[in-house]
Subunit: 153 residues, 2 copies
DNA sequence: ATAAACCTTGGAGTTTAATCCAAGGTCAAG
DNA sequence: CTTGACCTTGGATTAAACTCCAAGGTTTAT
């Protein structure tokens, strides 16, 4: 059993955040002490881990609440429905994954166009790309800024 | 040349959002009409595309402003420094990518544990996982909820 | 038995990223 | 030459997700 401060410390968040999650129906402590202190058990802790991981990958608390609260109506829902909800989230994750991969590729080629040398960035191809039409340069792979006239690479 | 409403329509955002980005130093129109209307050119449009893509993958506007505004001090910075900043962002993207992949894997095995059938989700393994220690079930791949006693799969 | 370090509640304040509003100026069409 | 769709500014409001505060109760350690 963890008190609120202990659980918060365990995940490096604030106790306030846990109270906030409780108020918004994401995570309630499974019990309270005689004096009213919140007491979280291992299941609560695992649930928090799930919430934080979902949050870390860009789900809103509302998204997460949807996902976690399917169970309220449990007996009136079919497995198909539940699985559908998870699969919808999965599709969203995969879409985000694709975007992120695209962006990583852009950044990688942006990085590749630059010599990374110690001289002035006056004619740095990264800056040239960011100032105006990045797509132009980002689209060309392995360019290694040949156009760089300000200094030798 | 696009007026504010045109550019906004092009990217399916509000004109207000463009004014907001301008106020926060992310994107200024390259010119104004005689009457003071904002006029955006193709470079502005490409820059907006970059901003929106960065935003879509989870960068805050501050992150994006950092990335876009390296150029202010251009001549006093070395290529190494500029490249370093891009590489730092790239590392962040790759970290996020890894988290997202982890999460997708979790969701996939969560989905796999469920039969997806038309019967009551009373004993649905997805719900069982979400109610308590998800990690337990999420860790086991290809489980296909054998423990499902509520109905046949 | 009295600090120090925790916890309780309710409510206010903060940040981010818009989004809306009011009062007015501009422009093309009929 | 007026109507309607657009634009301008500054300022207010929203929503999400915290974060902080005040006034007080509890626990633990000396
Ligand atoms: Zn260089
Ligand atoms: Zn460079
Ligand atoms: Zn089933
Ligand atoms: Zn199921």
């Amino acid at each position: 059993m963890y008190r609120i401060g202990e659980l918060a410390a365990l995940y490096d968040i604030k106790a306030d955040t846990l109270r906030f999650y409780e108020k918004h129906g994401l995570l309630s402590p499974s019990s309270r002490s005689d004096s009213g202190y919140r007491l979280y058990n291992q299941d609560d802790s695992e649930r928090l881990k799930f919430i934080l991981r979902a949050k870390a990958v860009g789900f809103s608390l509302n998204d997460i609440a949807d996902l976690l609260s399917i169970e309220v109506d449990k007996s009136n829902r079919a497995c198909a429905e539940v699985k559908g909800l998870v699969d919808t989230k999965l599709e969203q994750v995969e879409a985000k994954l694709a975007e992120l991969q695209h962006f990583a590729t852009s950044l990688k080629s942006l990085s590749n166009t630059c010599c990374g040398g110690p001289d002035s960035a006056e004619h740095c191809s990264i800056l040239e790309a960011l100032e105006s039409s990045d797509q132009h340069i980002i689209a060309k792979k392995e360019q290694h800024h040949f156009s760089h006239s300000g200094h030798k690479d």
